[in-house]
């Protein structure tokens, strides 16, 4: 616990925070541009080259908007909820390795904020804490649609968490470690997507549901719930929810990359570049889904989670366990 270690950790924390804060406007821009082209429009193009600064402009606009708080709202919880959303997304990223060791001033610096031996449990735990941001936001607004959105999201996220956790367990069975850095280290010869393809599909579906992205965006279904849990939110608090949603997409993508796609591993290019390339591809996939699929009905969503994904993940786990037991 020397000073160099503290400085090193602080710098890495700042890098990750800065990366997310700079990355989110880029993702939003990418989403608008991509969806625009998929719908035969051109998307944002006025502000900055290719409309790149559009999101920044929107952010500044949100910053100067009036901050409305409903009269009957629970003020403390109303403030707390969006902050919780963002914080849980950020702390989940702290265990994701985004590159190989680098040597700075003669020190070997591993490129992740913390390599804990319970990393996967940490990620699952923080994402399950993320539910609070949405549920409390919906409840504190003291308004019908947000409450419905909040209740929906709590039911949805608990349901999909199960299958998500179990799909990761089958990978843990193969690696014998819960550390993300350890899992990445074992993918030198083969990415785990090859033996664990079904686990990956289940994980990704659950990840989309956990981040409330289309086609699982029931908590904010605008055609039935106005805007769901954040109907009453405006200004910076709304911006925080927005930030949290995209930061959560990054978390799911980063975990999927680390567990199934070899993390930062790849030929020729430096490790960090590979990580960023894989991350961008994942985020593109998220946007692509949103542009392609209509939203599920609520009962379909719950039935899909409990009657399809959960049994499938359990089956996958059982098969993996048998194979691991037989082969060694």
């Amino acid at each position: 616990m020397d000073a160099a270690f503290l400085i090193e950790s602080a710098v890495k924390v700042l890098i990750v925070l800065g990366f997310v804060l700079l990355g989110v406007p880029l993702i939003v821009w990418m989403e608008r541009k991509v969806i625009g082209h998929m719908q035969d429009r051109i998307g944002p193009q006025r502000v900055g080259p290719f409309g790149l600064l559009q999101t920044i402009a929107d952010g500044i606009k949100l910053f100067f908007k009036e901050d409305l708080i409903p009269g009957q709202a629970d003020r403390v919880v109303f403030f707390l909820a969006p902050a919780l959303s963002v914080i849980t997304a950020f702390v989940a990223l702290s265990v994701v390795p985004f590159g190989d060791k680098v040597t700075v001033f003669g020190r070997d610096v591993p490129l992740h904020v913390a390599d804990v031996n319970v990393a996967i449990l940490w990620v699952l735990g923080t994402t399950s804490m993320g539910v609070y941001g949405i549920v409390l936001g919906g409840w504190a607004s003291n308004s019908k649609y947000p409450l419905l959105g909040g209740l929906r999201s709590s039911a949805q996220m608990i349901s999909y968490e199960l299958a998500q956790g179990i799909s990761l367990v089958s990978v843990i069975l193969m690696t014998g470690t819960l550390s993300l850095a350890g899992i990445v280290a074992q993918q030198e010869h083969m990415w785990f997507i090859v033996p664990q393809f079904f686990a990956f599909v289940i994980f990704l579906l659950c990840g989309i549901a956990e981040t409330n992205r289309a086609p699982f965006d029931l908590p904010e279904a605008e055609t039935e719930l106005v805007a769901g849990f954040h109907t009453e939110y405006s200004s910076m608090k709304f911006a925080l929810y927005f930030l949290a949603e995209y930061a959560n997409m990054m978390v799911v993508s980063a975990v999927a990359i680390s567990v199934f796609f070899g993390g930062w591993r790849g030929p020729f290019l430096p490790p960090v570049a590979w990580f960023l390339i894989k991350l961008s591809l994942f985020l593109f996939f998220f946007v692509w889904l949103r542009a392609t699929f209509p939203r599920l009905r609520y009962d379909q969503l719950m039935a899909f989670g409990w009657k399809v994904l959960l049994p499938a993940s359990l089956l996958n786990l059982a098969v993996t366990a048998v194979v691991v037991a037989l082969t060694g």
């Binding site: 616990m1 629970d74 919880v77 804990v116 031996n117 319970v118 449990l121 940490w122 699952l124 735990g125 923080t126 399950s128 804490m129 539910v131 609070y132 549920v135 409390l136 409840w139 409450l147 909040g150 209740l151 709590s154 039911a155 996220m157 608990i158 968490e161 014998g176 470690t177 819960l178």
Partner: protein, 170 residues
């Protein structure tokens, strides 16, 4: 030094949140305070070399059990109780017995400690103490039978909850 500072921080927040939980009127606030207690305890578990338990605490307790609590609180939309505490002599008895229990616990803690008022020294532990691998080793050897019984218990709970929630009361 670091452990002492963090211990003070976590214990103060745990006790403060616990008091808030017991004496707040709004059930949602109570649940949130309990989440605060659980997170503080999770921090203490890390200090006590129980990383796996700390992670499970966040994942299972704070992330699943308390969400269920919140869900039910919001679903039932229970009005705040008036009066907050149970009325009459029962309240006095409650505080009195709680106080006696605390004195007893205190006496046990003080009397069972190390020799002559000095706290017992903290033993040095192997670095992988409390890691998932070590927990798994004894969980699936020494404690295998209780572990299997737990699965039956959970199954019974699931069935019971479904039966209770599904039944239509006349």
């Amino acid at each position: 030094m670091g452990e002492a500072i963090l211990f003070t921080l976590f214990s103060l927040s745990a006790v403060a949140f616990a008091l808030g939980m017991v004496f707040r009127r709004n059930a949602v606030h109570c649940a949130l305070h309990l989440v605060g207690v659980l997170l503080s305890l999770s921090g203490m578990f890390v200090l006590l070399h129980a990383q796996f338990i700390a992670a499970i605490q966040i994942l299972v307790y704070a992330g699943a059990i308390m969400v269920l609590f919140l869900f039910v609180v919001m679903l039932l939309n229970v009005k705040g109780e008036t009066p907050l505490l149970t009325p009459g002599a029962a309240k006095g008895f409650g505080f009195f017995f709680a106080f006696i229990a605390f004195v007893e616990l205190l006496w046990i803690v003080v009397s069972q400690g190390g020799t002559e008022g000095e706290p017992a020294p903290v033993p040095a532990l192997p670095p992988n103490f409390g890691s998932p691998a070590e927990i798994g080793k004894i969980l699936y050897t020494t404690w295998l039978f209780p572990f299997e019984v737990t699965s039956i218990l959970l199954m019974i709970a699931v069935v019971g909850a479904v039966v209770l929630a599904k039944r239509k009361f006349a």
